[in-house]
Symmetry: C2
Subunit: 319 residues, 2 copies
């Protein structure tokens, strides 16, 4: 089986590539290396099961040529802007990197007759509506441009499914943590504390509570859903037990780094940034009904992510 | 008060312009004349309250210049691809005309500090899910590319509202009928019967049932919602009592045209085209709670639309 992973050099994408290669699939990773990094895939450079193509998936002709050349059996579409806070300065970023990338991949699937599309969606599509979020939840009123772009991409995914006979798996990710991340709360805290061990800046009031999932567990869920769910249009929240407060994450990072007497300096307000949804909780009964449960709680996920990021070369930490 | 209507030369847009001018507003209509027609606004050409600008709203610089020149108090965004069946041959059409037009208008509102945005959304965002559709309904899984583009536009509307302090009114239209239409079931039936009075081609099995609203009633509802609803993000279904079956519409058209012995030839299948949602019913209690009810039932709306279209110059009927 021949698998395409878009955004394959990225944080989550590269972990997915590793797992797919381990399972014996032939894997092609496409990435424009805007957020992805070649180092994430360096260990596979000699592996004949694996091919890396540096390309922006918005390049429809280039991508179509690759589809013709490779005849993929399934496409995992992870290419997106993952640096959500950027939107404050650049409204086009998510339009281009999160939505139009998806449109381009769907167009290539239609034109080349590919029939299996696994889409990395997000809790951000739900916006800030109160309630336990299940997959049929409405209304969908995203408050970030990232969430808007993911919702736009979901709409196109279901419309392409219906019109062109493409089978789709929409997987809504929670917050995802782990090694190879280039941003996110744990990464940011470690980065800041490596520069200044006395004081830690925390966005918001620190009371934001979200479910956090360790990246390798997420990849496990993604493959499970694709292998197990059989509807023409499948949609699943990928969740985890519990939520973790931001201040608790800061305490865990300080502890794992062996620091003490760190002053937490809160920027204030009930959210980290304008488009941040400060609290949400997934209903994960649909996915557990299918047969998958996260092996770690949210807090355990945060803990392992801190350990793994700290074990990476400090050179990975970037400004 | 200075009002912008995008798609102002179109079927619904031109009726909205008429009503706004009647109410004493200064109105600027923008239209690229792809689906809109100058004749729809010809009667206003000498009116000093009114200005027509031929422009594609995807032209961000041109539109931004217009925003600076005119200082609009409110924008009614109706520019869109309304010829939904086109998608079978052109997947880019709704992306460009329905979604990217919306993005461009929202960007101009952000850049110029405009703060009131009334958006013409559609029942097509709901897709084919069973149930009485209220405004909080989920899941939203459109089956047409038109519905996908409208959902994408809704997501961007709520995200821009949250991030940039724009007050928004999302109005989800049902099927809309009336004079100045350039397509749609009544228009198509009249057009076909003017060419061949013996036989009428009907898409699907004729059992599709939808709510139909007369265009001037829709405009009335749109203005009522904008004037009355006061939330930062307002979302309303604009509905009508009852639904009308396609075969019933065909019978009414035949009757109003004074014809007899017309053979109905059904193309078959349970829907008119691939992205068609053959049956749906709106929950209109939210809008009636606000104080508006359609003055005509779905069937009465179909009837008046037939009469008004027949009263138009037959030259309007195009291939």
């Amino acid at each position: 089986m021949n698998v395409l992973v878009t955004g394959g050099a990225g944080f989550i994408g590269s972990h997915l590539v590793d797992t797919l290669v381990d399972k014996g699939y032939r894997v092609v990773a496409v990435d424009n290396l805007v957020l992805g990094r070649k180092e994430n895939l360096a260990h596979l450079s000699e592996n004949t099961q694996f091919r890396f193509v540096e390309m922006d998936v918005r390049n429809l002709q280039g991508l179509f040529n690759l589809f013709r050349e490779e005849s993929f059996d399934v496409v995992f579409h992870l290419a997106a802007n993952s640096d959500v806070q950027q939107e404050a300065i650049d409204t086009e970023r998510d339009l281009e990197l999160t939505f139009l990338t998806t449109y381009s991949v769907l167009e290539c699937m239609r034109l080349s007759g590919n029939r299996q599309f696994v889409f990395a969606s997000s809790s951000a599509i739900y916006g800030e509506t109160e309630g336990l979020l299940d997959e049929d939840f409405g209304p969908l009123r995203p408050i970030s441009l990232y969430g808007a772009a993911k919702l736009a991409a979901e709409g196109y995914t279901t419309a392409f499914a219906h019109n062109f006979g493409i089978k789709v798996w929409i997987c809504r990710f929670p917050n995802v943590l782990g090694e190879r991340a280039t941003h996110g709360v744990v990464f940011d805290f470690i980065n800041r504390l490596r520069k200044n061990q006395k004081e830690l800046k925390i966005l918001g009031n620190g009371e934001q509570r979200k479910p956090y999932l360790y990246v390798r567990d997420l990849v496990d869920a993604l493959l499970f859903i694709w292998e197990t769910a059989k509807e023409p249009v499948n949609c699943y929240n990928i969740g985890v037990e519990g939520v973790t407060e931001v201040t608790k994450i800061a305490q865990m990072v300080v502890e794992e780094m062996g620091l003490s007497n760190v002053c937490f300096r809160y920027s204030g307000g009930d959210r980290g940034w304008v488009g941040d949804v400060p609290r949400f909780a997934y209903d994960t009964s649909k996915l557990s009904g299918l047969g998958w449960k996260a092996p770690r709680s949210s807090e355990e996920s945060v803990r392992i992510a801190i350990k793994r990021i700290l074990a990476e070369s400090p050179k990975r930490i970037i400004q």
